[in-house]
């Protein structure tokens, strides 16, 4: 691995911060200007992030140090393959969400739009910061920033329910934050460094019991954002947020940041070897398997579309962690790919939920009868997204699940293969009724609503993401070489 010093990671993060300031300054005066800042920043950010791909694929690591905080502790960015994967995902989907947000916010004439766009831009910066962090401390800095930037978005509606959701969100994530802080401080005192290293760096620095304790606290506290089962409660509650927020943040940025953190901890702090030696992996695997199965049943019981999607998110996040916990090369690769692919699919589904809400003010599954005729493009995209989440070829969900299944076989734990398969079946059980209702069930009223789609600003992004879900399924290495990047990351971890 060659280290290349480059200011690009910093630029990528700063773009949206600058945009946030511009939004705040011009927001109240001109709506169009405000939203063009958002879009401009998202495009620039995407270009910067993608421009890093070739260099990383060459086996380089891009590094940028801002300042030294303490001996052995830097505020530092380092773009490795895994971080880049997450960075690409977030920056790509931000473009889509920017357009979608405009349609959504204008369609519903929401209040406090400036605050909304401001916090959104900050949240994206924080997400990229998490992706590009070189060490646990930098990651923590951005992790907390993300928490705080998301809080106003959750409480956006300012109804008692939204405020309660916001409170619950803060309680969970801030508590997790201080636990991370404590564990991080202990690790720093044990090892004198917090730099991520493929294959881990803490093994052997303290007694096994101490390390076990640290592993549990760190995984569980990052697991709060990753919504591992006893700690998932905030996510369905946070669905009171406007749909673009649920889409980008609660399907991609925030929860994936949690998963990303868990994976960093497993693979880059403790390392597969340590997990394997202590047998912690099997513990973690069973824990997330429990989440995978139980969340499906919860999802089945939900009538509200967004809540149902939320439980599906919980399910898929745990699938990613299970992939990493299995510790075989294929499983880890599948997990990493699933971070990216699930992002595309789930954001489609959320976009659809929002489009339905803007157009018809319907929020429940039971009200969707016959909607497929009114909004065929939207519901068609939903069908593609649902297929993807269930892992049906030719969508991209199939590819990641394929690797995950291979990985579970490689780990000689056949039971987890069944977990993957069962969850795919259950996914189908709660997604396809929606598709069925929309396309095949007649409305109770006899009137056949004609073609009446959601605003263009909303339909275009959701069709684009659905399209990408398909394209990535057929040509998984298209555009940004997701598979190659993931393979490179796995190679570093396993080789290191």
């Amino acid at each position: 691995m060659d280290v290349v010093y480059s200011i690009k990671p910093l630029l990528a993060i700063m773009v949206s911060l600058v945009a946030a300031c511009l939004i705040l300054l011009t927001g109240e005066r001109s709506k169009n200007l405000r939203e063009s800042w958002t879009i401009l920043a998202s495009v620039i950010k995407f270009i910067i992030v993608v421009s890093m791909v070739p260099s990383v694929l060459d086996g380089n690591v891009l590094e940028y140090t801002i300042i030294s905080l303490a001996p052995g502790l830097f505020l530092q960015f380092r773009v490795d393959a895994f971080g880049l994967l997450f960075g690409i995902l977030a920056s790509t989907l931000w473009i889509a969400t920017s357009f979608y947000s405009i349609g959504y916010m204008r369609g519903l004439k929401e209040h406090a739009q400036t605050r909304y766009f401001f916090c959104f831009a900050i949240a994206i910066s924080a997400t990229l910061g998490i992706a590009f962090s070189a060490n646990l401390l930098t990651l923590f800095v951005f992790y907390e920033m993300l928490t705080l930037a998301t809080y106003p978005l959750v409480a956006h509606k300012e109804t008692p329910e939204a405020i309660k959701g916001g409170r619950k969100y803060l309680t969970y994530t801030l508590t997790a934050g201080v636990v991370i802080l404590l564990s991080m401080a202990i690790i720093y005192r044990l090892t004198g460094t917090l730099d991520f290293k493929p294959g881990g760096f803490v093994a052997g620095s303290a007694s096994a019991d101490m390390l076990r304790f640290l592993f549990v606290t760190l995984v569980m506290s990052f697991g709060v954002k990753a919504a591992i089962m006893p700690l998932h409660e905030w996510l369905p509650t946070a669905m009171v947020a406007p749909t673009p927020v649920s889409a980008l943040l609660h399907a991609v940025a925030v929860v994936k940041a949690g998963v990303f953190g868990v994976l960093r901890v497993i693979l880059y702090v403790f390392g597969p070897a340590f997990l394997h030696d202590t047998g912690l992996w099997i513990l973690l695997a069973y824990l997330v398997s429990f989440t995978i199965i139980v969340s499906c049943f919860f999802a089945l019981a939900q009538d509200n579309i967004k809540r149902r999607l939320a439980f599906s998110t919980i399910n898929n996040l745990s699938i990613v962690i299970l992939g990493a916990a299995l510790l075989s090369a294929d499983a880890i690769k599948g997990g990493m790919l699933h971070i990216a692919f699930h992002g595309f699919m789930k954001i489609t589904l959320f976009f659809v939920a929002g489009a339905i809400y803007v157009k018809t003010h319907k929020q429940n599954v039971s009200e969707l009868d016959g909607l497929g005729r009114q909004m065929p493009l939207t519901m068609g995209s939903f069908a593609i997204g649902a297929m993807g989440v269930c892992g049906i070829p030719p969508t991209c969900g199939f590819i990641s699940k394929w690797y995950l299944c291979l990985g579970s076989l490689a780990a000689h734990e056949i039971i987890f293969l069944f977990v993957f398969l069962a969850s795919a079946l259950l996914d189908a059980a709660f997604f396809f009724p929606i598709v069925y209702r929309a396309f095949f069930k007649k409305t109770k009223e006899d009137i056949n609503p004609g073609f009446n789609e959601a605003p263009l600003f909303m339909v275009t992004p959701l069709m684009a993401t659905a399209f990408f879900s398909l394209v990535l399924g057929i040509f998984p290495n298209a555009f940004v070489h997701f598979i190659e990047i993931a393979a490179l990351a796995v190679q570093n971890i396993m080789g290191g």
């Binding site: 801002i66 300042i67 030294s68 905080l69 303490a70 502790l73 505020l75 923590f140 800095v141 907390e144 920033m145 705080l148 106003p152 409480a155 300012e158 109804t159 008692p160 939204a162 405020i163 916001g166 409170r167 803060l170 801030l174 508590t175 934050g177 201080v178 636990v179 802080l181 404590l182 401080a185 202990i186 720093y188 005192r189």
Partner: protein, 501 residues
């Protein structure tokens, strides 16, 4: 040449100006403010000069009147008090700028008196920091305290009573300090701190020395409102004029905390305070109690300033906890926290003052109806950022001092301390998010319940620019100093920590 005189200049200039303001104010009120600014600016520049000298050339010894210590009074400036000097004079200058409009509104008749006493107060605190003589410290402590009693009494209706109680408590504290000095003088015959430090080790097993140490701790504990000796603080700081509470909350307790460090680690050697007697253990556990108590009581308050006062009690707990860990990291955290907390508290109380200035009321439950987020967006943004810093969210400076404190607790193998630190950080999150929620998100009660009328659009009605600029300088400090903390520690603080750690 003038650089050599900075330690005297930093005290004498404000002193003379304070009196000059008093005289000039009888005939001409207008220049009082500018004179005060000038004096504090000179102090600030001197303190920067001192810090620069200390960092480049080492410890400064300044003999007042040319008398050699231990007979004469000596001003000793090392890295620790040079650092504190900069903080105190900086905050003093900022709050002085900030106070202009507030004082004109709160006490139009007493402007010269205010600036005169205010300058005297800053001078007292600077003097406490700069002096190397135990008795001189007592005198300057009382000058600062007397000035603060008078300033606090200038506040709202209940202020005189609060100030009176503070005066009684404060005098007890000062008397205990004086007794401590007396005991040390009896056994050693010296008042010079460095001299005492040389003479005392042979007498560490004397009971008089032990009693002196206990008296010091009690006296200092009262003066810095260390739980359970804090009872005077919430009332006094709540009812004081806004600018006074901003300055006093920011610096007074911190300077006294500095005195605690001096007593524990300079007058007495760390060997005595840490190994010989269980002072650090007692202090540590009390500090934990202080943190919990302050945060929990802050949750229950609906008066913004009173809430902040309880937070301040908890913050004092942080500093003492850092001192009591008795290791390099903990003490680094404590010193860093002195700086951060001075900024944060001064900023929060300034914001409370700005709200008072515009709304005339600081009841938290009333914030939403006042539409504060629309009316005073900049002030509220400053409040939010500072609140995040108090909670300890990176990258604000509050996080970094907490980070060092937690590491200090881990190094000291005191897991309870570490857990208490993060727990109190959570509690303060509850305190501040309760307010932030009320500022930004709480649904408003309808203005006209009968007609169900709509809310009229609120126009932005910000605090005057002379208030906003100091507030934002402090907010900038909060944001930047956190990132720079590594640099600050490597240039200044690491030399301020006793070498034996």
């Amino acid at each position: 040449m003038i650089a050599e005189q900075f330690p005297a200049l930093i005290i004498v200039f404000p002193l003379i100006t304070a009196l000059l303001i008093n005289v000039v104010g009888w005939w001409w009120i207008r220049p009082c403010f500018y004179m005060s600014i000038l004096a504090l600016a000179v102090s600030f520049i001197s303190s920067i000069g001192i810090l620069n000298t200390v960092v480049t050339q080492g410890i400064i010894h300044y003999k007042l009147g040319g008398w050699d210590p231990p007979w004469g009074i000596e001003y000793v400036v090392d890295h620790l008090n040079a650092f504190i000097l900069v903080i105190v004079s900086f905050i003093g200058l900022l709050i002085c700028i900030y106070s202009k409009k507030g004082i004109e509104q709160e006490m139009p008749k007493k402007i010269p008196q205010f600036y005169s006493i205010y300058t005297l107060l800053v001078m007292g605190l600077l003097g406490m920091t700069v002096t190397g003589d135990a008795f001189n410290l007592y005198v300057l402590l009382e000058i600062a305290s007397l000035a603060s009693y008078a300033l606090i009494a200038m506040g709202e209706d209940r202020a005189p009573l609060a100030s009176f109680n503070y005066l009684i408590m404060g005098t007890i504290g000062a008397c205990f300090y004086l007794l401590g000095v007396g005991y040390l003088y009896i056994v050693t015959g010296s008042l010079n701190m460095a001299d005492l430090s040389e003479l005392l080790p042979k007498l560490y097993h004397s009971k008089a020395v032990l009693v002196a140490f206990a008296f010091f701790l009690i006296g200092i504990g009262i003066k810095m409102a260390f739980f359970p000796l804090h009872v005077w603080l919430p009332d006094a700081y709540t009812h004081a004029p806004s600018s006074v509470s901003a300055f006093v909350a920011g610096t007074m307790t911190k300077v006294v905390a500095y005195v605690l460090m001096r007593v524990m680690f300079t007058i007495f050697r760390p060997y005595f305070s840490i190994e010989l007697i269980p002072a650090t253990t007692v202090l540590g556990w009390t500090a934990v109690a202080a943190m919990m108590y302050g945060c929990v009581l802050a949750i229950a308050q609906h008066d913004l300033k009173r809430m902040l006062s309880y937070i301040l009690i908890a913050e004092v707990g942080y500093i003492v906890l850092g001192i009591s860990m008795a290791n390099r990291m903990g003490l680094t955290g404590a010193i860093l926290h002195i700086m951060n907390d001075a900024l944060m508290m001064a900023c929060l109380f300034s914001v409370a003052g700005a709200i008072m200035f515009k709304i005339g009321n600081r009841d938290i439950t009333n914030f939403r109806n006042q539409q504060l987020n629309k009316k005073m967006p900049f002030t509220m943004a400053a409040f939010t950022i500072t609140a995040l810093s108090v909670i300890g969210i990176p990258p604000t400076c509050g996080f970094f001092s907490k980070w060092y404190l937690v590491i200090g607790a881990i190094d000291a193998q005191q897991w309870v301390f570490a857990v208490a630190l993060i727990l109190s950080s959570l509690l303060s999150a509850i305190v501040f998010f309760k307010v932030i929620e009320k500022i930004y998100f709480k649904p408003r009660e309808p203005v006209h319940p009968d007609s169900g009328g709509t809310h009229e659009d609120v126009v932005m009605d910000e605090a005057p620019i002379s208030m906003l600029i100091p507030i934002y300088i402090m907010v900038g400090g909060i944001l930047i100093l956190g990132i720079l903390s590594g640099k600050i520690i490597s240039t200044v603080i690491q030399f301020a920590v006793p070498a034996s750690f």
